[in-house]
């Protein structure tokens, strides 16, 4: 008899909105577990004495701990167990790539399906959010020191939350009119409802954190000025930012969007509710999305919901190399997105008025592995073909936004322009300045940004404690 005998091989399925209906609305696709399902799934956990799953979590949530509380039916306690180290569980339960983190290391996963940790996390978070009563966290006595956080994405929010709990006076400066970073402007409503994001942000900023929106640091104040004007330390969590284009002919035709613009118009500015909301979007009946990551999947699925009849996803490698989460690829497939692998656009052709009409692609084959370890796509001679489309969405990644790096003195950057910061502490080349999240790693994940934020908060605490000691 092994330890896992008697445990169902398959995890408890989570119901989803019907495919036909969901492509016509922006409501959440995945519907979450019922209490009964959650307890059933939680009972699959082996409660390992030496749990590997925890080490797969960048913020080290006590996974077996919270799961055990679910089996006992104490969902609130389970929630606060997660919240010991994770301030955004309803968000993480929805968007984390658990399959490559905690769930990947789940011992049960060796022979059966791993425990659905993410779904359980989401369940307890939703349970408490629905009741509307997140207890305020304990806050240490104020130590009088001030920390400025630049950017209110997962990295900034996490750093702010941890520091506020340690007794620092924290101010978050956010360039947009709304906090949340990619959580509000990038990831679509149907995957991550904005009301939930707002609730979790509120639960964090309640700790006396001052949230200053519309503050583009580097423009209104520089990081140097923040340090001169009374902040004892600064954390930069400004994200990756600048959309990359393909630099092919026709890329500035009307109807060509960066995924950032397409998603920002839709999510942050609510263009899907135009004209109730003022911001418009032009999304045609035939849409081509270029790229193979989460951002491409989100754009393609958004296009459907904006009324597209046909959405093509054009990716230069094959399905195996797609960086998007498996679950999202499956969702996209279910919804009828047509995948075109091993293809890359070479030019976009417009009509007489300058609107996108066709996209010309060339077929690719996979050669030897490149630096990323994935096989390098190479164009096949004379394999050009065209597809009629009205809208093109370019989702091929981002570069560094220059505003902060170019206005901060003494901040070292790597060749690609990202801020160089210690992985263990977030310390940059500039004294008192720490950084983490996408601005250091390039586009990564919500949870890795949060992990970086936690480490930076600890390092900032250590740095400022030393200063206080010296000062006395």
């Amino acid at each position: 008899m092994t330890k896992d005998s008697g445990i169902p091989a398959a995890r408890e399925p989570m119901s989803k909105q019907d495919t036909k209906l969901r492509v016509k609305n922006f409501d959440e696709v995945a519907l979450g577990y019922s209490a009964h399902q959650a307890i059933k799934e939680a009972s699959r956990c082996l409660q390992c004495e030496e749990p590997f799953c925890i080490s797969g979590c960048p913020v080290n949530v006590d996974i077996p701990g919270f799961i055990e509380l679910i089996t006992e039916g104490d969902f609130e306690k389970a929630f606060y167990k997660i919240r010991e180290t994770n301030g955004l569980p309803a968000i993480c339960g929805r968007v984390c790539p658990q399959e490559s983190q905690c769930e990947k290391l789940c011992v049960l996963g060796k022979r059966k399906e791993p425990v659905a940790i993410g779904r359980l996390e989401r369940f307890v978070a939703d349970y408490v959010l629905k009741k509307g009563t997140i207890k305020a966290d304990d806050v240490a006595e104020s130590n009088g020191q001030k920390v400025a956080i630049v950017g209110s994405g997962p990295a900034g929010l996490t750093t702010a939350w941890d520091l506020a709990k340690m007794g620092y006076k924290v101010t978050i400066f956010e360039g947009f009119h709304k906090p949340g970073g990619v959580l509000v402007y990038g990831i679509p409503e149907f995957r991550l409802p904005k009301a939930i994001v707002q609730q979790e942000i509120d639960s964090i900023s309640r700790l006396g954190i001052q949230m200053k929106t519309n503050m583009v640091i580097g423009k209104v104040n520089t990081v140097d000025e923040l340090l001169q004007n009374g902040f004892n330390a600064v954390f930069i969590g400004s994200g990756a930012g600048l959309p990359r284009f393909m630099h092919i002919p026709g890329e500035n035709l009307n109807g060509v969007y960066s995924a950032n613009e397409y998603l920002t118009r839709t999510n942050l500015m609510k263009a899907y509710l135009f004209p109730e909301y003022d911001t418009p979007i032009k999304s045609g009946p035939r849409v081509a999305v270029i790229g193979g990551g989460n951002v491409a999947m989100d754009s393609a699925r958004t296009a459907l919901r904006l009324g597209a009849e046909k959405v093509f996803n054009i990716y230069r490698r094959s399905r195996t190399e797609m960086p998007a989460r498996v679950e999202e690829i499956e969702n996209a497939q279910e919804e009828g997105i047509e995948f075109i692998f091993l293809s890359t656009p070479v030019r976009i052709i417009g009509d007489e008025e300058g609107w996108v009409k066709t996209i010309e692609c060339v077929q690719m084959e996979l050669g030897k592995p490149d630096r990323s370890g994935r096989r390098r796509p190479l164009p096949l001679l004379r394999s050009e073909y065209t597809i009629e489309v009205d809208t093109v969405i370019v989702a091929i990644g981002t570069d560094v936004n220059p505003i902060i790096p170019s206005t901060t003195t003494g901040l070292n950057r790597n060749q690609r322009g990202y801020i160089i910061a210690s992985e263990a502490t977030g310390q940059t080349s500039k004294q008192g300045v720490f950084a983490g999240g996408d601005i250091v790693t390039g586009s990564a994940t919500v949870i890795s940004a949060m992990g970086a934020g936690r480490k930076a908060a600890l390092a900032i605490h250590k740095y400022l404690s030393d200063q206080r000691r010296k000062g006395r």
């Binding site: 360039g175 423009k219 209104v220 284009f245 960066s258 909301y277 505003i403």
Partner: protein, 274 residues
């Protein structure tokens, strides 16, 4: 939030608002703009900062009511608030002593060229200004421009004020009269900026234009504002908004500005019906 401390009607369609925005007022330089948003369902639109008062913590914007958002903004009264204002955005204008500078403003573009002209005058340039409008009623900032300029030329399309004709006619006249021009700064409708550039290119006079593509964030994040300059894609909000006019693809700019014509009409109809 920014509170409106003053409102002036320059013409029935062009309004000046003085806003309390102390942090931005401290920082803004000629040529920079702000992004404002009116109401929780509002869109983000860019507007140039015309003047600021660091002590009072205010700045002034001048807007022409051309559509839904500018009309909403224009209907706000003194004492009311603008939901969001972010800035200063974009790069400041290059200000130094070039020698003789001709600053050209067309329509509401006069409001955008005014702060740059003033700074150029302050830097010791000889300043010749040309302001133009469709007619006398639409002419703005004439007095202010006169005050800072060594010489001011006014043109109206219908001849109701100043010389009958376009700002480009006045510019050609200056050139024909033998004025030695070291730099031209032109802000206004795309057609005007493009026409100015065609003239100055022949004379090899460096010409700076301030581009006004559609924007969303104004911080380099979306690429809505992309323009082609010297064959390369640039983001007007972080690489501009000022560019070497001789290198700009104006046709593309004009085309991209028209991307939402249909939606603009719908939004306006909705506003009118409310």
């Amino acid at each position: 939030m920014a509170y409106i401390s003053e409102k002036r009607e320059l013409t029935p369609e062009i309004k000046q608002l003085v806003l309390s925005a102390p942090e931005i007022a401290q920082k803004v330089k000629p040529g920079q703009f702000v992004i404002v948003r009116c109401g929780e369902k509002g869109e983000r639109i860019p507007l140039t900062v015309v003047e600021q008062d660091e002590e009072k913590g205010t700045l002034s914007i001048i807007l022409q009511e051309v559509g839904n958002s500018t009309k909403k903004l224009g209907s706000l009264e003194k004492g009311e608030e603008i939901t969001d204002i972010a800035g200063p955005l974009g790069n400041p204008s290059e200000v130094r002593n070039f020698g003789t500078v001709v600053c050209i403003g067309g329509g509401v573009g006069t409001a955008m060229v005014y702060p740059v002209a003033k700074a150029l005058k302050g830097a010791g340039n000889r300043l010749v200004s040309i302001v133009g409008a469709k007619n006398r009623q639409l002419l703005i900032l004439e007095e202010q421009m006169r005050k800072i300029s060594d010489r001011l030329l006014v043109t109206t399309d219908d001849g109701s004020c100043g010389t009958h004709g376009f700002v480009t006619d006045a510019l050609e006249k200056l050139i024909a009269d033998g004025l030695n021009i070291d730099r031209v700064v032109a802000v206004g409708p795309v057609a005007m900026m493009s026409a100015v550039c065609r003239i100055t290119e022949k004379q090899d006079i460096q010409t700076i234009v301030s581009l006004n593509p559609i924007m969303v964030d104004g911080t380099g994040m979306c690429g809505a504002c992309r323009v082609t300059v010297a064959g390369e894609t640039k983001f007007a909000c972080i690489d501009g908004p000022e560019f070497d006019g001789h290198q700009v693809d104006f046709e593309e700019l004009l085309r991209r500005q028209r991307m939402y014509l249909e939606e603009e009409k719908i939004a306006l109809e909705k506003q009118n019906s409310e």
